[in-house]
Each structure stands twice: as structure tokens, then as C-alpha cells.
């Protein structure tokens, strides 16, 4: 192992945790730079950064939360890119008796509780709300929603059987222990789900953060992201 440089601290959407942990250790082996992560719902991370958290890079699960950081003037110019795309999926608790095949099935009488990231803030919940609104289901489904602090907390509620269903990302399903995938939403059913990434102006280690984000857009990282189920957008020059 080569000489270790100063670590890069990355605040990243919790839906990326498995893929980024893997890529972080790969990167440390390859480049000799340790990567440390702060995983949470993107709205919490954005709030931390705006309040002064000295992180090097931010990878958000939606443009809105990256936008909050941008509006605060904290993004290093020219570093904001769309790193990944994703899709929404509906999972049911392990012992759920009947198949759910489409979003409209969430309107069924027997679906009493649906866990989602807080639709007021958590990106996965905001996407879920928009998808339900598009399908004309929001008013039926809203009283059944259990808002959670992150998309992974929504998954956990279905995993433990305490929610009948949860709306999560397709990529979260691999982390489920008991919950089962019901269906993945078609791209036209939900707004585009994108993960923007950027280097922060207050980054203690900006050069290393730039190199790390650059590497995340390279072929090695691409293969790992795709294996975890993320979409990697075509690189714009």
C-alpha cells in the first residue's frame, strides 16, 4: 500500500452506502487516499453542509437538496455533475399475502401502512409523492403513509413487517432481509431520479475530492455502480 494522503470526507445519500463503501476501499487501494463517508438522507446532509459542515464532496439523491447547497454558494464552480440515476420500487413485507403489481394496487383497502421517506424532504419520499400524484393516487394513499427519516428507514419498516409496503429505490432492495420486491416503477411513472455530485467550496481537501469524483465517473466505478443497480448517464464532454 502506498503512502496515504489526507482523507476525503464525502457526505452521500444513504441509498449509495453499499456501492460507495465498496468503491471507497477500492479507491483507497488504488490511489492511496482514504475515503470517509457520512451517510444520511440527502436533506439532512444538505442541512449540515449549509450550517457549516466541512465536507469535501456531496453526493445528493436529488437536485433539490444539491440546489440548497448551491444556493448557499457552497459548490465549487464547474464540479457539479450528474453521477447516477435510479428507479423507484415498491417492496412488501415478507408475509404480505397478495402480489402488488402496479402503483394503483397501493390504493387497495388492505394496504394499511406504506413507509416512505418523509415526502416533505427526504428525496425518495419526494419522488414517491410525485409518482403518486402523477398516478392520481396521492389523496387515497397519503393517510396511509408512514414518513421516515430516510429511504433505508422506510425499507426497514417493511423489513420488520411493521409497514405493509414501502416505496424505496430499486437499488435498496438488495439490502432487504425479509421484505420482497413487488415491482419497479417504469421511468415514465416517476420524475427522473438523479444523483448530482459536487466538490464543496469549503472542502478541506478539494484536490483529492476532485480526483475522487473524477474516478467515480470512470470505468471501474461505473461497473460497480451498475452491478448495484444504478444507472450511469452518458458522460457529457
Amino acid at each position: 500500500m502506498g503512502v496515504e494522503g489526507a482523507p476525503v470526507l464525502v457526505s452521500a445519500a444513504v441509498s449509495l452506502s453499499a456501492a460507495l463503501e465498496e468503491l471507497g476501499s477500492q479507491y483507497t487501494r488504488a490511489a492511496g487516499v482514504p475515503v470517509r463517508f457520512n451517510f444520511a438522507a440527502s436533506n439532512i446532509l444538505a442541512r449540515q453542509i449549509v450550517e457549516g459542515a466541512a465536507v469535501d464532496a456531496f453526493i445528493s439523491a436529488d437536485e433539490a437538496q444539491m440546489g440548497l447547497v448551491a444556493d448557499a454558494g457552497l459548490l465549487e464552480a464547474g464540479t457539479r455533475v450528474v453521477l447516477l440515476t435510479n428507479r423507484l420500487a415498491v417492496v412488501t413485507r415478507g408475509d404480505w399475502p397478495r402480489p402488488l403489481r402496479q402503483l394503483a394496487d397501493l390504493g387497495g383497502q388492505d394496504v394499511r401502512r406504506i413507509a416512505v421517506g418523509d415526502p416533505a424532504a427526504v428525496p425518495a419520499g419526494v419522488y414517491a409523492r410525485q409518482a403518486l400524484e402523477r398516478a392520481g393516487l396521492w389523496s387515497i394513499v397519503e393517510p396511509r403513509l408512514v414518513p421516515t427519516v430516510s429511504v433505508r428507514a422506510a425499507l426497514a419498516a417493511a423489513d420488520e413487517g411493521n409497514a405493509d409496503a414501502a416505496i424505496v429505490y430499486r437499488t435498496d432492495v438488495a439490502a432487504a432481509r425479509h421484505a420482497r420486491l413487488a415491482f419497479v416503477l417504469a421511468p415514465r411513472e416517476a420524475p427522473p431520479i438523479v444523483y448530482p455530485a459536487a466538490v464543496m467550496t469549503r472542502a478541506p481537501n478539494a484536490p483529492a475530492a476532485r480526483a475522487w469524483l473524477q474516478w467515480l465517473r470512470g470505468p471501474t466505478a461505473r461497473a460497480t455502480f451498475e452491478r448495484h443497480g444504478f444507472g450511469v448517464p452518458a458522460r457529457t464532454p
Partner: protein, 237 residues
């Protein structure tokens, strides 16, 4: 203050009051047992009763979730009995009760320990059975401590967050307490709303802890002697 704030404050105070009422019978019984009883396992009981005070509240929530969630040993029983607990107001009540109980026990126990044993013995020699001694001598003499403990338990219930978010979630109008709502407001940058709830909880907690401290100071008169009317009259034989 908006209708939303008012609803949250009302809900929290009402459930905390109900939780305090639930804490009292087992709290007083345990306090009495620990103050007066001599039995094997007393140290163990004492430790277990104190645990919710020192465990991370999230850990207590996790234990409750494991026991009472649909996958837990008691969850199945609840389900057969048609009782819906997790993610309902009943879960808020349970979290508050469990978290406040140790404070009732500890404070009330100190009250029982301060009673001059001779009054109890006198009552007993005058023919009062143990229950009568307890309700006419011990409990009235310890009433200030019990009340102080109840107020502390109430204050703790009012501020409960960790266990609540785990087993009751954050459902608007259903399980959202002051603490949970405040966290949600902070998460989403609604600092003004958070401030309203902050001021409300400051006011309620201040009053309640202040009153509790007043009561916990041993009152000279009640220590000196119980009023004659509090002593059981010897029944003519």
C-alpha cells in the same frame, strides 16, 4: 402559533399525561418494593428498572420494536388480538411510559426511604394490615416524592424522541410529538416552526421541573409527624 403547532403540542401533552398515569401504579409498587423489600434479585431488579434512563433511547426503542413489532414474540400476540401498536399513538404512549418510569421509581423510592419507619410500625401495632398501613401512612407521607417523580416522568415523556421515532414514527396528526416534529422542522430548514415548538417545550418543561424540585425538597412538617387523621384508628375488638 398555527393549528399544526397547536395540534402537536396538545397531542404531546395529552399522551404524556396519560403516560404519567400509566407510570404511577407500577412506579409506586416498584419504588416501595425497592425501598422496603429484602429479596433475592433486588439489585438486578433495581438495575433493570434504571436501564431506560441510561440506555440510548434509540436502543430502548429497538428493544420494544423487536418485542412488539410484527416479527417479535409479542407482536404476533398483539396481532391475533387485533391490537395495532407500532406506528400508532399507542406506541407513543408506550415509549413515553417506559422512558419515564425509572424517574418515578427512583424519586418515589427516595420518598419511601425518608419515612420514619416507626409510624408504619405504630399503625401496624394498632391493628392496621399492610395495605392499610401503605395507603394511610406510607403513601401519604411519600406523596410529595411520588408527585415529584410523576412530574419528572411527565417531563421525560414530553421530550421523548429516540424510542418514539423508532416505534411510532413521524406520522402527521397521528404520532408526531413535539420532539419528533422539531427534528422534522430542523431537517427541512423550517427553523421558525422549530422555534415555536422549542419555546412551547421550554415553557412546559420549565414549569414541570421547577414544580418537581419544589416538591422533592423534604417538607419539614410532613417529616415531623403525620397528621392524626392520617393514622388509622385502632378498631375496637
Amino acid at each position: 402559533m398555527t393549528a399544526e403547532h397547536l395540534q402537536i403540542i396538545q397531542f404531546t401533552v395529552l399522551v404524556a399525561l396519560a403516560a404519567t398515569a400509566l407510570m404511577l401504579p407500577p412506579g409506586i409498587a416498584l419504588a416501595w418494593l425497592l425501598a422496603r423489600g429484602r429479596f433475592r434479585g433486588k439489585a438486578l431488579l433495581e438495575t433493570v428498572v434504571t436501564l431506560p434512563l441510561v440506555l440510548p433511547p434509540v436502543a430502548t426503542g429497538f428493544i420494544l420494536l423487536r418485542l412488539l413489532g410484527r416479527r417479535g414474540p409479542f407482536g404476533a400476540v398483539l396481532e391475533r388480538g387485533g391490537v395495532d401498536l407500532i406506528f400508532t399513538w399507542k406506541a407513543v404512549l408506550l415509549a413515553m411510559t417506559v422512558m419515564g418510569l425509572p424517574l418515578v421509581v427512583r424519586t418515589a423510592r427516595a420518598g419511601f426511604e425518608q419515612i420514619t419507619r416507626r409510624y408504619e410500625q405504630m399503625a401496624a401495632t394498632l391493628g392496621a394490615g399492610p395495605w392499610r398501613v401503605f395507603f394511610t401512612i406510607s403513601l401519604p407521607l411519600a406523596s410529595r416524592a411520588v408527585l415529584a417523580g410523576a412530574l419528572l416522568g411527565f417531563s421525560r415523556a414530553l421530550g421523548e424522541f429516540g424510542a418514539t421515532i423508532v416505534i411510532a414514527g413521524n406520522i402527521p396528526g397521528e404520532t408526531r410529538t413535539i420532539a419528533v416534529a422539531m427534528f422534522g422542522y430542523l431537517e427541512t430548514g423550517r427553523d421558525d416552526d422549530a422555534t415555536v415548538l422549542l419555546l412551547a417545550s421550554l415553557a412546559i418543561s420549565f414549569a414541570s421541573v421547577w414544580l418537581s424540585n419544589q416538591l422533592a425538597q423534604p417538607a419539614r412538617r410532613t417529616r415531623a409527624a403525620p397528621r392524626a387523621s392520617a393514622l388509622p384508628r385502632a378498631r375496637p375488638r
